[in-house]
Each structure stands twice: as C-alpha cells, then as structure tokens.
C-alpha cells in the first residue's frame, strides 16, 4: 500500500547515513544468499548422486552417474531435440484448445445457470478418471497420430481452467453489478468490462497449472503406441536399459515444462499489473 507519497526525507545526519549503509549492505548480502544458496544446494545433491554411484558401484543400466548424463546430453542432443518438438507441439496445441474450451464453457455456465447445474457434475466425474485411464480411450477414438496426444493434453488443461474461470467471472462484487445496472450496461458490456478483466488473475492461476499439466498429458499420450516424442523416447530408453538416455529425456521434458510455466508467469506479470486486494 505504501505509495510514492509516503517517501520521507531523512536529514543529512551521519548516524542515519551509517545505519542506512549498514542496512543496504545487509540487504544486498541477503539478495546474494538468495541467488547462491540454491546453486550450492543443487551442486551438493549432484555430488551426493555421483558419490553414491561411485561408492556402491551401481551398474550403468540401473542408474547413470551425473557425468555420464551430462555427456549423453551433449551427444544425443539431436535425438532429444527431434523428439522434443512433437511433444512441444502436442502440449501447446492441447493447452490452447483445452483452455479455449474451458473459457467458453465457463462463460456459458455463468450466463446459463441451468447449464452449469446440468453439466458441471458430469465434468467433475470425467475429471476424476485418472489420465492414464483416459488416454487409451482417446487413442482408440483418435488413432495413432498427434490428435490423441493433443486431446489428452487438452482434457487435462480443461478442468482447472473451467473451475477457476467460473470462480473468476463470478468474483464481481454486488456493488459493481449495481453500478453497472445504474449505468444501464448490457449483459455483454458487463461481461467485457467487468467479469472478464476480473477473471484474469484467476485464469492465470489456472494457466500456470495447465502449462505443466499439458506437458504431462502429451507425454502420457506418447506412452501408448507412439514412435516419436519425449514419452516415446522414455519408453524406448527404459526397454533398452539405456538409463543415461532415460535421464536426459526426462531432463529435457521437465526443462520444457519449466520454461512453459515461466513463460506463462511472465505473461501474467504483463497482464495483471493491478494488485488485487
């Protein structure tokens, strides 16, 4: 809440300046600690991993050493990239389709309560089926191409966005609705000017979940009868006891998932500059 107006002017006093310098030094040390400590933590875990493999002489087909993983990452980078693209395309397409459907259905639900009463319980029911159980059904329905993977990613994204979007569109205060009434606003104007902007923070909360979930959906889809993609590569590496390839594939998939999440978060920071509450 403290805004530019609360800026205070300190008198040029030596004590005050010394205290301020000490405070700033402590602040910058804290900032460095925040950046460095996660790195320290990460490297120490890598070291423990390496030590465990070396001390217990773990066979490479059970678990690889971090050094082998690093070299595999470089050697197999073309294989990884060519398998990453299908997964990226499936996850992104599923993300877009699933969320667009969810937003459309939330809009419908908010304006037609009886539709919500009729179909929301069914959506909850379908959502309660685990992904791994839904995936084979969609593969049978849609064949072996990209379509079933996109569909699975879309289905996974759909539910959190639907629930949050309905909540967001209904998060308008009764007074704001009365204001719109006094201004004789039409229903679509209330939607565009009030409900939709109000729902954006809720939407982004869901999109951040959906970003990671869509990658999971695409990978799970690729487990079932697929020749390419991160999911197919995971299955292939497992059956060949190629643990190093398995690890770099997983690494590759999660790197994409994290990048996707961060991209959505950046978009959120651009779109939601007004702090709610």
């Amino acid at each position: 809440m403290a805004s530019a107006t609360s800026e205070t002017v300190t008198p040029p006093n030596a004590d005050v300046q010394a205290a301020r310098a000490a405070f700033l030094a402590a602040q910058s040390w804290l900032r460095w600690k925040r950046r460095l400590l996660p790195l320290v933590g990460g490297f120490s875990l890598l070291f423990v991993w390496w030590a465990l493999i070396a001390v217990f002489d773990v066979k490479p087909f059970i678990a690889p050493s971090p050094l082998v993983v690093a070299s595999t990452l470089v050697q197999k980078s073309d294989v990884l990239l060519s398998n990453l693209w299908p997964t990226v395309i499936e996850a992104l397409s599923g993300f877009v389709i699933g969320n667009l459907f969810a937003i459309a259905m939330a809009t419908l639900f908010v304006h037609r309560k009886s539709l919500e009463m009729a179909f929301f319980p069914i959506v909850v029911l379908i959502n309660s089926i685990p992904v791994v159980a839904k995936a084979p059904i969609l593969v049978l329905l849609l064949g072996n191409g990209m379509a079933p993977k996109i569909a699975i990613a879309a289905v996974i994204c759909f539910f959190p966005t639907l629930v949050n979007m309905v909540r967001g569109l209904e998060a308008v205060s009764p007074q704001a609705m009365e204001l719109m009434h006094v201004l004789s606003a039409r229903k679509w104007e209330v939607f565009i000017r009030l409900r939709l902007p109000m729902s954006i923070p809720y939407l982004f909360a869901a999109l951040k979940i959906a970003a990671s979930a869509s990658v999971v959906g695409a990978i799970v889809g690729e487990w079932i009868g697929s020749q390419q993609g991160i999911g197919a590569l995971i299955i292939q590496a497992t059956y060949n006891f190629d643990s190093a390839l398995l690890y770099v594939t997983v690494l590759c998939g999660s790197a994409f998932s994290v990048a996707f999440f961060l991209a959505i978060r950046m978009l959120e920071r651009l779109c939601v500059r007004w702090a709610p509450g």
């Binding site: 007074q175 009434h181 006094v182 902007p197």
Partner: protein, 262 residues
C-alpha cells in the same frame, strides 16, 4: 436557491412506497409507506439506525430495487426512465472502482457502457471532474495506489460524469477516518454548489447529517418508515465553524433524541 422556485417537478417523489423482501424463513418489510418529496437542487440527508432501510430507499430511487407497493417518481417519471436517461449518479459505500483501470479510466466508465443511454453532452470532461474533486495530477494512478479517501473522490467524479440531475450517495464516507471525512464533506458541499445537482445522502452520523443536509429525513427501523423530517436552519454556505455553534449543537441534540426513539 431561486432556481428551485421556478422548477415545479420534484426531483424525487415517493408516495406510500413499501418494499418487502421474501426469504425462506420470513418476510422482511424493509420500507413501509414511505412518502416524501424532494425538490430539485436540494440536499437531503437520510439518517436512521442500521436496518432501517436507508440503502433500500436509495435503491428504489436508483431503480435497483422495485417497490412492492406504492409509486416512486424521479423527475416526474418512473425510476427506470430516469436511469435510462442517466439522470441518476450513484456513489456506493465502497468506492467500487475497477482495480485494473486508472483513475481517469474509472471516471470514463459511464461513457463506455450503456450504449443508448449515454449522455448526449457530457458536460464536464473526466479530467475536469477529477480536478473538481481535488485529484488533478492523479489521473494515471491505479486504485491500489490511492488512499481510501482518494478512491471515494474518484467514485464521486465518476458519478458526476454526464451531469446527472440526482446524486444518490450511500454512506460514501462511512469507512473513512474523521479528518478525511470532514474534508470530503466540505468538498461535497463545494461540488453541490458548483453543479447544482440534487443530492440524497445516506449516513449514520448525526453530525454529517446535520452539517450537509438542508433537511434530514429520519427513518425508524423494523419496518423502515419516516419518523420525522427535520429542517436544518443553518446559514448557507455551510462552513466548518458552524459545527461549534450552539445552534448546531441544539440541532444535533434534537436529532440524537429522535434517533434514540427510532
């Protein structure tokens, strides 16, 4: 106020207006047989205990709540017609600003919704209105960057856009600290004199009711009904010093004694 003498149509006229709300358990009579008339350009404050239907009364005038029985007239027409012609501005207890819009964009909202009911000539521009409520230079600020009092000023500027002939205010300063409230009271009187609009102002503060209103309409609770209409004979224009006079003290004492029986 010689203009008021020429105008014949009352700004607001209620005759035997009752409002009943149904709930599963019981039926609540929010207002019962309310009758009063308010001439154009005047300033009426509504005072009463909580639950006496003050807000409901404002909402009848604003066409938010329809009376169960009785007739409400706004500028000689049905409240719906007045609303569609944008004769009514409403200031809520909470500023009710859209948090993603800057101050000036919030003031502009009435120009962007309501299609056909948009005022033909908007009168003062949004930036002039912000200046009128003392917020020149804050146009680009977002609501969360403004204090509670400043947010409420923005909402007053928004309500004044398009020069509505009636301004309805529902405890607009109730959530503010006393110093801010005093200042905004003076600024509201200034706005009222500048614009010549009719103001219907709900409050639960005796001092606010007496200081602002030319008349105080006192409502009794359960069910909400008119207890007394008290004319406030204080010199115009009101200045803050009037609050320290014995006359003001006597009026406040009278309002308090009536309020205790409401």
């Amino acid at each position: 106020m010689d203009a008021a003498a020429v105008v014949t149509v009352p700004a607001v006229e209620l005759s035997r207006v009752s409002v009943r709300f149904m709930s599963e358990r019981r039926e609540v009579t929010a207002l019962q047989d309310i009758s009063f008339s308010l001439e154009q350009g005047s300033f009426l404050t509504l005072l009463g205990p909580s639950g006496c239907g003050k807000s409901t009364l404002l909402r009848v005038v604003a066409d938010i709540v329809a009376p169960t029985s009785g007739v409400a007239r706004v500028l000689g027409e049905k409240p719906t017609a007045a609303r569609l012609k944008r004769d009514i501005g409403f200031v809520f207890q909470d500023a009710t600003l859209l948090p993603w819009r800057s101050a000036i964009d919030n003031v502009m909202l009435p120009l962007q919704v309501g299609g056909g009911s948009r005022p033909q000539h908007a009168g003062r521009s949004p930036s002039e209105l912000l200046e009128l409520v003392g917020l020149a230079g804050w146009e680009k600020s977002l609501p969360h960057e403004l204090s509670g009092g400043m947010r409420q000023r923005v909402s007053i500027a928004r309500a004044l856009l398009g020069e509505p002939r009636i301004l309805l205010m529902d405890e607009p300063f109730g959530a503010l600290d006393e110093i801010t409230r005093d200042r905004l009271n003076d600024e509201l009187l200034h706005v009222w004199r500048e614009t010549g609009t009719t103001i219907l102002f709900v409050t639960h503060s005796i001092h606010e009711a007496a200081y602002l209103g030319q008349k105080v309409l006192m409502l009794a609770a359960n069910p909400g009904r008119v207890r007394e209409i008290v004319p406030i004979d204080l010199p115009e224009p009101r200045v803050r010093a009037v609050r320290d006079t014995p006359e003001f003290g006597a009026i406040a004492a009278h309002l308090r004694s009536v309020l205790e029986t409401c």
